[in-house]
């Protein structure tokens, strides 16, 4: 490989980038905007979930634990309580949830105060199971409040998920009101989306423009041309993307990076190379820019849903898991979550690094291979 030719390809691409306003926008600004907007969507806590409280508690002398519980629930940030006293039948409450007006219902039975004093009270909770995230949030908020009632403890809650038998009984300890765990994966998706689609256009664009022939009759080798293309994308677009993403995430979205920032950067950098390599590979085997864009978008959609950044791989059917483990985003999501949120060390993410490096090398080798074949 001749270093000067690689350098010239990079320089040419940079020149072309700065002459094209549209390209600057898509290559450099869009990822920043996407991280900000999409990431922002995942930073909020779920607040003010509307719930119904039915209180049939007759009280015990001056004590009415049913009213105490209602007051406590009203004070919770997560919940917005609509108090129905004792006049609403349970079935009507469930109908209100079905109509979508409320997300959960707390039913306090008539002997509640007596039983609290005995240490064996029961509260019935019904949750809208059709939206698990909101459902888990409200049920866990309710469980937290209920468990603080009564000096002796001993109040039992039995959340019942309506309309969705698969959700089952919520385990009370899940804290889903913090969705920040999605952000590392989202940073990965942004970088992959930006680089894969840009790189996917690159060789096909030369082919469609005709400049490809001018390059092919020259002594430049496939490896030199592809290396130049990849390095340009990674060194310019990739680094700008990574830096803006991390900046947006830490400054605007207030996500503290718990682990080593250099490791986070390095992992994203290698992932950027792998994504670019994948884009170049698509570009080499596609016949038109539209075809390349199509493949890039399809593969990204695949990665987003199957790589475990949104939906846990452990919960996927066995047959799909190997697919998940073939996707580079799986390793990036896993590694970044460990580095950014749990603050893990290098040893923890070592395998993620190895997987991304293998992917990186394989993409380049395949691209060079198909490039040489496609000339004929």
């Amino acid at each position: 490989m001749n270093a000067e030719r690689i350098y010239l390809v990079i320089k040419k691409e940079i020149n072309l980038l700065f002459r094209s306003k549209g390209l600057i926008l898509t290559a450099l600004l869009l990822p920043c905007i996407i991280t900000l907007v999409v990431g922002f969507a995942f930073t909020g806590n779920i607040k003010n979930v509307p719930i119904i409280v039915i209180n049939e508690d007759k009280g015990h002398g001056d004590l009415n634990y049913g009213l105490v519980l209602t007051n406590q629930l009203s004070r919770s940030d997560e919940l917005d309580v609509k108090y129905f006293g004792n006049w609403l039948p349970i079935q009507s409450g469930i109908d209100l949830i079905r109509n979508g007006k409320y997300s959960a219902m707390v039913f306090i039975p008539q002997d509640f105060s007596d039983r609290v004093l005995l240490g064996k009270a029961l509260v019935l909770v019904y949750v809208d199971g059709s939206d698990p995230v909101v459902g888990y949030t409200s049920s866990s908020a309710i469980v937290t409040v209920v468990s603080q009632i009564g000096s002796k403890g001993g109040v039992f809650v039995q959340p019942d998920f309506l309309f969705n038998t698969n959700v089952g009984v919520a385990s009370s300890s899940i804290q889903l009101n913090q969705l920040r765990f999605v952000i590392p994966g989202q940073v990965g998706v942004t970088i992959a989306a930006s680089l894969t689609s840009l790189a996917a256009a690159t060789i096909v664009a030369e082919r469609e423009r005709g400049s490809f022939e001018q390059l092919l009759v020259s002594p430049i080798t496939p490896a030199e041309l592809l290396m130049g293309k990849i390095l340009y994308h990674v060194l310019l677009v990739g680094i700008v993307d990574i830096v803006t993403c991390l900046f947006v995430v830490t400054v605007f979205l207030d996500v503290r990076i718990a682990g080593n920032l250099m490791l986070v950067f390095l992992m994203l950098f290698m992932y950027a190379i792998a994504s670019t390599g994948f884009g170049v590979l698509i570009s080499v085997i596609s016949k038109s820019q539209i075809e390349a864009a199509e493949v890039a978008i399809f593969s990204l959609t695949f990665q987003v849903w199957l790589s475990g950044i949104v939906y846990p791989i452990r919960a996927m059917p066995l047959i799909l898991r190997p697919v998940a483990y073939m996707l580079p985003l799986t390793y990036l999501g896993d590694g970044l979550r460990a580095l950014m949120i749990r603050g893990s060390d290098f040893a923890t993410v070592q395998n993620d690094f190895i997987a991304i490096i293998i992917y990186m090398v394989a993409m380049f080798a395949l691209a060079v291979h198909f490039f040489s074949k496609r000339i004929d």
Partner: protein
């Protein structure tokens, strides 16, 4: 400069180029002719290293195109039919890029680029964005780029397709200038007025190289003499035909529509004496005229012959 031996390429069962043996000499302008689909472009693409032949060998400036592609490629320049440089780069940047790709020594680069731009009369526009140039200027940039590494061999693929006649003449002036500097030119063309300016011509049809000769030699060999057109009234047609068969100066008769095209050994003599002789035989010639055989005639004739023999096969 170009030497091929039994160069053949097959796409599936279709033989696009069939055992072509070319020998293009240093410093000549070699024109490559043939109808659409004859295999001209495929041949040129193989010679430039864009396609690998299924069989046979190609040598460019002494380097084997298959075994030593990189060395062979540095010795050729290629100007594609369609403008294919970077629209968003300046003229200078396009040339600089390719000068680097061809590894023109760094210290010579500036000078070389300037020289090529000067030759193409583009030096004063060197900082223009290429995409904003007119078609003719783009072609000149393209030609300058193909020359920037000073290749001893230049491939032109229909360089003046879609260019107006005045500009075509300008381009051929450039080509002759380039030739004078010692560069061998291989040019694919459809225009016979261009073909006539070549030193030698190769004629291709149906994947085969039919003939290689100078333009004059081709005329001589294909047509076999000079031509005279003779018109007689339709009623005399049969009689004329009979008469001409016994006329010694006529080598061949080609009746076309209302006239006879006579291929003769001495056209002046025929035009001078034939009317009188016809008169004596009781045939009244309506008109007789000397014909300048053009390459078009040669072309059509050759392609027709090719078609006939193929059909018989």
């Amino acid at each position: 400069m170009i030497l091929t031996k039994d160069m053949t390429i097959q796409f599936g069962k279709f033989v696009a180029v069939d055992h072509v043996n070319l020998d293009v000499k240093r410093g000549e302008i070699f024109g490559f002719l043939g109808p659409n689909g004859a295999g001209k472009t495929t041949t040129e693409r193989m010679l430039c290293g864009l396609l690998t032949p299924t069989y046979g060998t190609i040598q460019i400036a002494g380097y084997d195109m298959v075994k030593h592609a990189e060395a062979a490629k540095t010795h050729l320049g290629y100007m594609p039919q369609k403008f294919s440089l970077y629209d968003d780069l300046k003229i200078w940047e396009n040339l600089e890029f390719f000068a680097g790709i061809y590894q023109v020594p760094k210290k010579d680069r500036k000078e070389r680029i300037e020289a090529k731009l000067e030759l193409m009369q583009l030096l004063e526009y060197k900082n223009r964005i290429t995409g904003n140039l007119s078609g003719g200027m783009k072609q000149r940039v393209s030609l300058a780029t193909a020359l920037v590494h000073e290749p001893p061999l230049l491939f032109l693929d229909e360089p003046t397709a879609g260019v107006d006649p005045a500009l075509r003449a300008v381009f051929w002036n450039y080509f002759r200038k380039i030739k004078q500097s010692g560069v061998t030119i291989f040019v694919n063309t459809h225009y016979m007025d261009e073909a006539i300016q070549c030193d030698r011509l190769g004629l291709m049809n149906r994947g085969r190289l039919l003939m290689v000769d100078t333009p004059e030699g081709l005329k001589e060999r294909v047509i076999g003499g000079q031509a005279v057109d003779l018109w007689v009234s339709p009623s005399d047609s049969a009689k004329t035909s009979e008469f001409l068969k016994n006329y010694p100066l006529v080598k061949r008769i080609e009746p076309t529509g209302d006239k006879f095209r006579l291929i003769v050994t001495d056209s002046d003599e025929v035009v001078l004496k034939l009317p009188e002789m016809l008169d004596k035989a009781g045939i009244r010639p309506l008109r007789i005229r000397l014909v300048d055989i053009t390459l078009d005639d040669v072309f059509v004739k050759l392609i027709d012959t090719g078609r006939d023999t193929r059909d018989i096969e």
